[in-house]
Structures are given as structure tokens and as C-alpha cells.
Point group: C2
Chain length 432, copies 2
Amino acid sequence: MPVTLVTVSLTELSRDELTRTLDELRGAYDELRGRALALDLTRGKPSAEQLDLAEELLGLPGAGTHTAADGTDTRNYGGLRGLAELREIFGPLLDVPAGQLVAFGNSSLELMHECMVHAALFGVPGSTRPWAPGSGAAVLCPVPGYDRHFALCEKLGIEMIPVPMNGEGPDLAEVERLAAEDARVKGIWCVPKYSNPTGTVYSAQTVRGLAAMRTAAPDFRIFWDNAYAVHHLTETRHEVADVLAAADEAGNPDRPFVFGSTSKITLAGSGVAFFGASKSNVDWLTGHLGKRTIGPDKVNQLRHALFLGSADGVHAHMDRHRALLRPKFDLVQRKLEEGLSGTGAATWTVPEGGYFVSLDVLDGCASRVVALAAEAGIALTPAGAPFPYGKDPNDRVIRLAPSYPPPAELSDAVDGLVLCIKLAGVEHLLRG
Amino acid sequence: MPVTLVTVSLTELSRDELTRTLDELRGAYDELRGRALALDLTRGKPSAEQLDLAEELLGLPGAGTHTAADGTDTRNYGGLRGLAELREIFGPLLDVPAGQLVAFGNSSLELMHECMVHAALFGVPGSTRPWAPGSGAAVLCPVPGYDRHFALCEKLGIEMIPVPMNGEGPDLAEVERLAAEDARVKGIWCVPKYSNPTGTVYSAQTVRGLAAMRTAAPDFRIFWDNAYAVHHLTETRHEVADVLAAADEAGNPDRPFVFGSTSKITLAGSGVAFFGASKSNVDWLTGHLGKRTIGPDKVNQLRHALFLGSADGVHAHMDRHRALLRPKFDLVQRKLEEGLSGTGAATWTVPEGGYFVSLDVLDGCASRVVALAAEAGIALTPAGAPFPYGKDPNDRVIRLAPSYPPPAELSDAVDGLVLCIKLAGVEHLLRG
């Protein structure tokens, strides 16, 4: 049988059949390696075509245009909270009242870092002591999750406690138990819509549960990284319940820290980031930011407000991204189905938004798949990356990022990946 | 005699003469107050006319232009050290080899904050322990100095030890003594060219002394805030000795942290900031920055490289700033001379670059002058601001920032200030 048509369940093959299959797969793999590919599925970067959608930004605001709606000269110092007109566009998209939204810098990760660093040094509103290294502070980490969240905690010596994800978000019962039991548990990382990497959309029940649960720590924070708030891959604009409103209703108004950015809306790296929270949290953060800087790049904020225009303008722009991204995600699904369906060698997510496909291979095989792919010139995110300390206890999860490569390269890369998954799977079964 | 002509030395007046002068000054002050002015000499902000000089930036790089010299797509993520072409323009201006210069963010204060925060949390290369709050870490603060440097230390619980400035920079003997004596002394703040607020240009001897002195702390750092590197007010482009080279020669290559920015070259708040240091310091900072962000706004860096072109382009641009700033500084000097020369009520600096004039009034009078001016609608930087913890031990220094107001307003403001200085001086002499 041709290698690409191994669609029978590998686990049902006899040892002889496995050995024969291994030979075939190795032959195919040697051929793949011989092609000296240089493909990259590692990071959730927008493609050049996606960035082209915002090309007009590069000439904005244009000479002579530098005054904000309230008369502010955007070219000069000041205005720590950012331009009101931009906050008004993004308030409804992030479910944060514009008056509680801060537009600051070019990176939401930077704002998360800022919050964590100041929590470590000084605590947050409601803290009885800082979350400093050595204080025992811990944060719940739904897994698989976003490696940069985890790197930030690791750097600051904040212990990470993994919690499994399910179809509605993190396992709520487990989160409730851990948060209620231990005052060292200071927070939880959440990507509530189209989670990185599983594509999960948090259910309303999960959101309400997180907002309302009893926590032993009086200064518990939900780090609500709404990175994919408007990043739909289907015509359905999935909604997630309003976490600030839910927390407010539950008497925990200070619990959520909401983050967002335009990095995957306009330009990655030259966009605008947002922080939304209760008034006391906003005062806390801007109090710290005010010692660090005299203000954000307001010209870039004006540029964005002019380019995007309104929340509807953002949605229309995201439809144009979807037109470019959807075929790539469809291609990945088709290739995975063609190559792996029925083999039992992998399962994968079918995301309706966001930037990733999460792939579960046979337990113990993820690192081997990544190594095989690397040797064949296909760069994948390191196995383990979506877990705290880079350790996937089952060595099972691989994150795919289909957005950046052109379709032909993506096609080759997924073909190669499929082969590596099968090869690693057969090797594993022959060992086991 | 008309009030504005009190040019005799106040200290030589008899009590009767002082009383009569006080009445006259009070009358004039009441009249001033009656004018309900709203003038502001507080912050070193560029004027709208100065910002207009960079208006072309607002349309750059322009649609279709987004590729850096090395082929990088500036619109996408990455490139933590910033665009090479921009670093090559600013390397010679800041006396930092371009390979050791990082272009990052819109605010050098932010980079100083980043260095201080990471020193507090983790220490710097060479540290045996972090400079954390409670560690006793202290920093030398030449006074008068820049309030935002001091606010940063105060926030982080880093003790500030004032050191007097003289005409060549901080009192070197005193700095050498303090640094050699006490391992808690971890660094010194320096604005080496056209110091804020005194306008001092550090002598070569001072620079070499700071670079070479023995320090008890193995991790001593010079925070070299070269904020006014190219900000000349005369045709003489004053040079300051190369601190990185001097430190390297002295065997202390890791000692200087160099900072700079285009905030007062192009657009305040929408410019580019720089950090320069030894390779190990650069690796240290970018290692931390890499956990915080996926990269700086490279489009803004490309915009700046296109607009400024070269180091010569920067100098030419600064000449245009000088043409706008010089008349304002001349106006201040003329008004101060006309109003205060010979009165003994104040002395002041005659800066050849930078953004400030530093004014010494009679001891014990600075707060009163600022309060009187405020009541008359003339906002001045709070007395004490140029000192650690906001405390001027002699209540003597007032910082003037002439750049922002239009000439007519500046003229009114300095006239009013002169009156307040005389009034406070006479009040003081009558009390004393």
C-alpha cells in the first residue's frame, strides 16, 4: 500500500505489518529529507498578505493630521491612558467600558509582564503582600496553553499549576478546588476565545464560575488574554460572556485583568495593546506606568483609529483576514484527515477562530515527531511548549501555526508532518 | 522707583526701604494676579512648531514601504534589538557601536525603568544579589537632577544619596569616596551633556573618573542618560568623552548603561528609544525584554531611519530645533537679567544646550516663589522636584522649561516669575 494511504488503524496492525510499514515510512522519510525543505509552522505570525491588508496604515495619519478628537496634540508627551477614540472602538470588542480601557504600547504581552512584575514587586489591589519570588505565589495554567504566559511566570519564580482544558475552558471544578484551597494561588491564565492552542471558546458557565468562585487569596486575578476576540475563522462570531460584568455582579470587581491587542488585526509589532479592568486596577497599573514612561505612542493610536474607524470597521477588516486564513486552516484539516484519519496515530482540533491547530499524537511521541520534522526541514513549536516549564507530561501535544507560510509550503509541511507522525507512531508501537 | 527696575541689591536695602519695596511689589503682584494668566513653565516639552519640523514622519514610511535594509518585513513580529539602519544612525551620536545599541520602544525612561526593575528583581551582570527593596541598594544622585530618575528609585525602594553638581559634572571626589566606601552604592544617575536642569557638560576628567574609579560594589552601574546628546543651543556642538570606551579602557566594560531617545528630536512620545552597553549588558537586557515582548515597533524605526537618513541628517534637523529654541532661551536670559541682575535675589544658568534653565533664589524662598507664581497663574515645576524625595535642603532651586510656550506667553511668564522672586526675596529679608 502507498505510504500516504496508511489509513488503517496502526494499533490494529500485527508486528510484521508494522515492520513492513516502518520500512515504507522510512523510505518515504528519507526521500522527504532529501528534498531539503525549509518550512516553518512554529509561530502564530500573520502572513505578508494579511499584513498587506493594513498597508494604508503606513501612510497614516499623514502630514497635517495629528490632533485627537479631544484636541490633544498626539505628537507630544502625555496621555497615559491612550486616545479616547481608539478606546471607544475597542471597548465593545473587548467587553470593557472605554473609560476602564487603557491603550498602551505595541504588545499585550508587555502589559501582562507589567502586571506580573508589579504584582511581584508590590502586589495588586487587595494584596496583603507582593507575589515576589520566594513568596510561594502560584498561578493556575490551563493546559495546553500559551508558552509566553508560562515563560513570564517562570522568569518571576511564580509557581505554575497545570489544570486540564476541556471543551468549555479549564476544568472548572478543578480550578474552583485549587483556588478555594490555597491562598498561594493568586491567579489563572485564560485565553477565553479560540484558546491558544486548542481553539476552545469558554462557555458562559465557565466564565461565570471563574468570576464568582470562592478564592482563598483575596487578591486573586484572572489574566484574561482575549488575544483572539475578533479573530473568527467561520461566519459565526463566537461570543464569550463578559468577564468584567460577571465579576462585578459576583462582588469580585477587581478579579479580571483583561488584555487585547491589534497585533493580529493590523500590524504585528506595530499595533496597539489594551488593558481593561476595574477602576482601582486601572489606577494601580497606570500609577506604575506613570513612573515608567511619559505616555504611549499616541500617533500610532490615532493612525489606528483613523484606519479602523469603528468596531464594525474592525469586524470588516477581520473578514478580510478570514478570507486569507480560512483556506490555510481548511488545507491543514484536509491534509490531516487524508493522511491520519482512521490511523489512530493522532487527533486534532477544528478551530473556529484564532491561530492554531492543536494536535495530539500517541503518548510519548510528540518530541520524536518534532525531531523528525526538524531533521526534514520542517520547524515545529518544540514539543512541551504549550505546558508550564516546557514539560508535556504525556509528550503528546503539538501546536501547529498555519497562518504564516504560503499555501504551497503549508501543504508540503503538513504532508511531511503527517509522515513524521506515522513514522513516530509505528516506531513507538514496535517498541511498546 | 518703578518695580521692574529694582536692580539694586535687595540685601543692601534698609528695613524701611524693604518695607516700601514690599508694598510696591505687592501692588504689582495683585495686578499680575488680576490678569488671570494661565501659563506653564513646568515640563521640557517641545513646542508645536518644533513638532511641525517632523511632520513628514506622519506620512512615512508610506504604503508599499515596509522592508528594512536587511530584508526584514518591519510589519511582522520579532527583531528585539531594533532595525540596524536606525542603530547605525544613532550609534555615533550616542558614542555606542551600532552592534551594542538596542533600539526599543518610545521612551528611554522606560528602558531605565526596565533596567532598574530587573536589577531589583534579579541583579545585573556581576551582581551577587538583586537590588531588591530591602536590600539596602543605593544610588548616587547628582543634584539638582531629573525628577523622573528619582521617582523611579523611590518607587523601587532604592535609597538615593545626593551628590552636589559642579561645573564639570557631579563632584567627582565625593562620588569616588561614596562609591569606594560602601558596597550598597550600586550606581549613579548622570545626564552627561546639558544636564537636566543645570545645563552642565561633563568634563573629560569627570567621565574618565566615573569610568575608572574603584567601586566597592562589583555591579556598580552608571546610568548615562544622554538625553540631550545633539540638543545644542549654540553653534558649538559640545562633545562629552565616550563613557563606554573609557570604561572599557579602565577594565570596567560593564559599568555604563547608556540611554538616549528621539523624543526631543522627532516626536515626543512617538519616537524611538535606545540602550547601549557592553555585550553582556545588552544580552542581559534583551534576555529580559524577550520575555516581555515579541519585539519593538519596527515600522516606527523604519519611519525614523527614512526621515533622518544619517547622523548628519540628525544634526541638520537639530539645527532647525535650535532656530526655534534659541530665541526662547535668549528671551529668558534677557528677562532674568533685566529684572534680577544686581538684585542679589537670584542667580541662574546660561545653558548651551538641553531644555532647562536652573534658577537659584535666596535660600528658603523657592517654595514661596512657586506658590506665588501658581497663585498668579504661572505653573512652575514644584520646588524640590530636582532633588531626591522632592526635598531641596536649601529650598533654593527652581527649574524653568522655556521650550513649550509661545514667545509672548513665555515673556509674560518670566516677567511674572521675576516679580514673584523679588516679592519672596523681600518677604524673606523682612522676616530674617
